[in-house]
Amino acid sequence: MTAPLLDVQDLRKEFAVRAGRFGFGRAMLAAVDGVSFTVSRGETLSLVGESGCGKSTVGRAILRLIAPTAGEIRLDGQRIDDLPEHRLRPLRRRIQVVFQDPFSSLNPRLTVGDILAEPLRNFGLVHGRAARAERLGQLADAVGVAREALGRRPHEFSGGQRQRIGIARALATEPELIVCDEAVSALDVSVKAQIINLLADLQDRLGLALLFISHDLAVVEHLTHRVAVMYLGRIVETGPRRALFAAPHHPYTRALLSSVPVPDPTATRRRIVLGGDVPSPLAPPPGCRFHTRCPFAVERCRVETPALRPVGEGHVSACHFDTEPAPG
């Protein structure tokens, strides 16, 4: 097996927050607490979990928009988590990002052409006016935006169109990996499908790897090769799409899957409704982090932290139990 394109080992990111009654104290909040995964070339890995579980922090750390507290991030075997900015810069063109909100991710004061030209100029990718115009045209074509749109400003476009422009900007540097941070969550359903198809199409044509960060398993199912489920700063289960969707192992994954609506009114299914809230990441519960909400938790879960262990082909899960008793 060749080395993965992106290899994240034991990534940890802590934020200092004010604590105590008067806010004089300092506490460390571990938004990401020892996360490891890999993404191969041309592969899509989805990182799913509910709000606040640290999935976006992982994405930002990989993009080096924030500096990780500990752990290693390797791109093609080269460590990038501790590179100084000037050495990081040439590598930046290999990892790009598409953000959630198509209204805030494009500078409203620049024309679409300027927005797309920025990465080209920045990395000196094309030389000459004609070559640049040609490249901008190609980018517009690649994401299905009319070439005439290049002279207009972002506010003249719909959300879906703007997200296409955001994808075009990410493509401009010919990256190998695109981090899609909730890239379709803000779009309405039909547009969402179009953008997912566009991403899948681009992946086929350009051999892109995607790190797809989402809270929505239904979206992920159509796009991804593998899924990693995060809960409270840790990965609780990773597996190939088919195995994970057909036979989820971790109780949290099952709860998540059961929340995905099925477009069939006659379908009978059990919904696993989790009680309570996500515990505060300032004081994560000991043992298995999910035990406060897990319907199957026993005493062992409260004291012993479960390690990720294989439960199938390329499928790992962090639960003490091999085969769960059928919930009921």
Binding site: L88, R89, R93, V97, D101, S104, L106, N107, P119
Partner: protein, 342 residues
């Protein structure tokens, strides 16, 4: 240059703000007039036609012996009746509307200075027998130029400082904030008095001195805009694209911060004008003899028997500041998103 729809809407709102729009035109007209103060109020003629030759005393210096062979070859004094007679004998001359500049002394006053308004001195003379109108024209120009320069330089420094604080945040921000707090606690006036005892204040020393303290006005606003701006998704995207810090600040964040900044500018300008006038009033400002509005206020205070001094100073200074405030209000309204976004 093509205007974005937003800019066009802003211009429309500005124009619709009648008071501000009219104030801008009046102020611009007055300022342009005063820029050519030498051609309006001067103790030299605009043109002399003498012995078949053209002379332009406004633009060049001529010796007195050019027109009157008996006079000394030193610089010609065109107010001298003998020289005037000599010129008239062989030609003619055209005087500016007001035949005095800010430092020339009105001769042949029929009463002790300050003398009241008359056909000759429209706004009277001050207590050193200088024409008040001429001094106001020069003083207006000086005040506005001083205000413009101070505002421009102070804003540039303030924006840069605020940008760096807001963009980098953390320790840089903290240290900078504490420094500003300490620095703004300095007793400006005392320092200025001490400075005035060491060296004679000029236009430029005053400007630099006031600059040391006035750049802080804008840093707070700009810092806040940058703190917000650096977390915008398109700023994050730009950084992921490897755009350098300076370019991110300049291209992606600053345009947003400019709205808040531009709104402040007319008010900063009127503030700068006021500061200069008050320093002149107190006698710590421009050197004696310079045409300053503050000095006129002070003369008005010292010569209450000559109310034309105080009234003129009040009307000019008050009028100028009112115009600037009206313009400022219009600018503020035109950048108000509630008025332009609908």
């Amino acid at each position: 240059m093509t205007l974005s729809p937003l800019t066009r809407r802003r211009l429309a709102v500005f124009r619709a703000h009648r008071r501000g729009f009219v104030a801008l035109w009046i102020f611009t007209a007055l300022f342009l007039l005063c820029l050519f103060a030498e051609f309006i109020a001067n103790d030299r003629p605009l043109v002399i036609r003498y012995d078949g030759q053209w002379y332009f005393p406004v633009l060049a210096d001529y010796g007195g012996d050019v027109f009157d062979p008996t006079a000394m070859p030193t610089e010609a004094d065109y107010t001298d009746p003998e020289l005037q007679a000599a010129v008239r004998a062989k030609g003619w001359m055209v005087w500016p509307l007001i035949p005095y500049d800010f430092k020339s002394i009105v001769k042949n006053l029929d009463r002790p200075a300050p003398s009241p308004p008359s056909w000759h001195n429209w706004l009277g003379t001050d207590d050193e027998a200088r024409d008040v109108l001429a001094r106001i024209i020069y003083g207006f120009r000086l005040s506005v130029l001083f205000g413009f320069t101070l505002t421009a330089v102070a804003s540039a420094v303030g924006i840069a400082a605020g940008a760096v604080q807001g963009f980098y945040g953390g320790a840089i921000d903290l240290l900078f904030q504490r420094f500003i707090e300490i620095w703004s606690g300095m007793p400006q006036l005392y320092l200025l008095i001490i400075l005035g005892s060491v060296l004679t204040p000029t236009f430029w020393t005053l400007l630099i001195f006031l600059l040391l303290f006035s750049w802080m006005h804008l840093t707070g606003v700009v810092r806040a805009e940058f703190l917000r701006g650096r977390n915008l998704d398109y700023v994050r995207a730009a950084r992921a694209l490897g755009v350098g810090d300076a370019a991110v600040m300049w291209r992606h964040i600053l345009p947003n911060a400019m709205v808040a900044t531009l709104t402040f500018l007319p008010f900063t300008l009127s503030g700068s004008v006021t500061v200069l006038a008050s320093l002149d009033f107190l006698g710590f400002g421009l050197p004696p003899g310079a045409p300053s509005l503050g000095e006129l206020v002070s003369e008005g205070k010292n010569n209450l028997q000559a109310p034309w001094l105080g009234i003129t100073a009040f009307v000019v200074l008050g009028g100028m500041l009112t115009l600037l405030i009206f313009i400022g209000e219009a600018v503020r309204d035109s950048f108000d998103p509630r008025k332009t976004m609908t």
